[in-house]
Symmetry: C2
Subunit: 110 residues, 2 copies
């Protein structure tokens, strides 16, 4: 379960289109994730800019990092993202039916 401060921190990490692009790239890459360099290239950011955004995502808990030889491998932290989704649904929407249905079949409502 997640408290407000943690949710706010994750929401902040998601409040930037560069960082959303990073997540899309990681989702597209699948279970192996991507290295910092691959991410930088895919989202069209300089290494230091990519690193800045990756730190924000990692500090908030949206992604995990793992060193692999010279490079750093990043993956989406689905457990943590699931907790955030639960927070959004329960705390921000009171478990509203219309919102909940978006998970079951997201074509029917959104």
């Amino acid at each position: 379960m997640m408290e407000a401060i943690g949710a706010a921190t994750m929401f902040h990490a998601l409040s930037n289109t560069d960082r959303l692009a990073v997540l899309r790239a990681l989702v597209a890459a699948g279970p192996d994730g991507l290295s910092a360099g691959e991410i930088a290239e895919q989202v069209g950011a300089s290494p230091s800019r990519a690193s800045f955004h990756l730190s924000a995502l990692s500090d908030a808990g949206c992604v995990t990092r793992e060193r692999q030889a010279r490079s750093q491998r990043y993956r989406v932290d689905f457990e943590r993202m699931g907790q955030l989704l639960a927070y959004l649904l329960e705390d921000c929407c009171g478990g509203n039916e219309q919102v909940r249905n978006c998970c079951v079949s997201h074509k029917s409502c959104c």
Copy 2:
């Protein structure tokens, strides 16, 4: 369906504990919503500070506002919040099963 810039704007609106408290108050209030003054009182903010946060939530589309005599009535915009939840699930998590299950029975995974 929601594009990245709209999602980022909504995520930014949710990235502040005062604004999360506003949403909790609105959810607790039910379908009638709350006036700006009631919200300010419930979250312990000055009128101008509450108004600042309400504008952020309203501009992002998290809540609707409607004038009612002298006061302004705010409500959660569940349609828009559902779209954001769908964005979080699909674009940020690739429809991941573990994340999706949080909506069906959020005790089982989070």
